[in-house]
């Protein structure tokens, strides 16, 4: 009798403290693979067509019909692509012409430059998230690219705003289970998606959360008063990997492929 009178309040305290704990921010740390890295139009299973086709016992698989999604702009701009102002649409058209002709000149990735924000959140080769109370770091296997999101309340200073970078400067805060991130101070020589150009006035707002256990979603809104007719929204989804080797990223030392580094 006496024991239960003591035990019950203790259990209540434990239950209360664990319910308090569930209100602390979720833990995003881990390695993730993108779901539909190339978007619904060209992505999904078999997007590259060199991937394993549906198994047909005893039959050799059919030969691939393409090597990669067509990305030279020859099919025009998708209705879901960012809507560009005339000045930036003209830039896109000029780049498309060069790409159709086979030129890699406007392709930062081919030069081993980082994809930059927001394109790096495609995380086509995988993503590792590292998290502490005051900072979340996103790492992309593709081009060993990295971004940091500060959660300690700091704000971009004039010196930061005067020093644009590929990943930009990101600060974030929690709204319940959702991480809200603002990114500023971005270089203007990267692309929003594909090879969609932008200006140095581009800013990005993200809302990142688990939509179900192990499935992380990043809702990205890109604003650019010079390059975009209206803010552009896109959603990236990633699946958390739980066992080796899928939960490991490989080194991507891009400079290895550059002649002067050999």
């Amino acid at each position: 009798m006496r024991t239960s009178r003591i035990v019950v309040p203790i259990l209540t305290v434990i239950a209360l403290s664990s319910s308090v704990q569930t209100q602390s921010p979720p833990d995003f740390a881990g390695v993730y693979r993108p779901i539909n890295a190339f978007g619904p139009a060209g992505g999904g299973r078999g997007a590259r067509a060199g991937g394993p086709p549906a198994p047909a016992p005893g039959q050799p698989p059919p030969p691939p019909t393409r090597t990669a999604p067509l990305s030279d702009g020859s099919q025009g701009r998708a209705p879901t692509a960012p809507q560009l102002t005339p000045e930036y649409l003209a830039k896109w058209q000029a780049m498309s012409k060069a790409r159709i002709a086979g030129s890699s000149e406007n392709d930062n990735t081919a030069k081993c430059l980082p994809p930059g924000m927001p394109a790096m959140m495609n995380m086509a080769y995988g993503m590792e998230v590292m998290q502490t109370k005051d900072k979340i770091t996103f790492f992309s296997e593709l081009n060993d690219a990295l971004r940091r999101v500060y959660l300690d309340g700091r704000k971009p200073t004039p010196a930061i705003l005067d020093d644009p970078t590929y990943a930009g400067y990101s600060t974030g805060h929690w709204e319940g289970d959702t991480l809200v991130v603002d990114t500023v101070s971005l270089r203007d020589n990267t692309y929003i998606e594909g090879f969609t150009p932008h200006s140095d006035q581009m800013t990005i707002r993200e809302r990142i959360r688990f939509v179900s256990p192990g499935i992380l979603e990043d809702r990205i809104t890109v604003t650019d008063p010079k390059a975009l007719l209206k803010p552009w929204e896109t959603v990236k989804t990633y699946r958390k990997m739980t066992s080796p080797p899928e939960d490991q990223l490989r080194e991507f030392a891009c400079a290895e492929g550059i002649e002067h580094a050999r």
Partner: protein
Amino acid sequence: MRTRIILSIALLAALPFGGTRAYAHHSNVAFAVETVLTATGTVKEWQWSNPHTWLIVDVDDGKGGKVEWAMEGRAPGVLLRAGWSRSVLKPGDKVTVHYSPSKDGSKVGMIARVTMADGKILPNAPPGD
């Protein structure tokens, strides 16, 4: 004489590291990605390198001769997950390469898939990608 020695040293130093050759790193747009051709030949060299791998193949020209092709593959990290490895191919291996040709007409292709002599298929993307 002395000049000749110095010249020889300079030439040696100019050889790429490890005797491997450097190939340009291309964007996908350098290739006709929606055209896939087939080449059969013998592996001359397999470069497990970033950002792209390279498979150098002596391709049968159909007239009893050989033509060297440089086939550009995806990054080691992606190919590892697709079932390839640093040692999966070696000089002398007979291979069939499905590739997209370079738009500039050079003997460079982008790998869609490699079929090995025993029928094993090496795809350019991991399952479900």
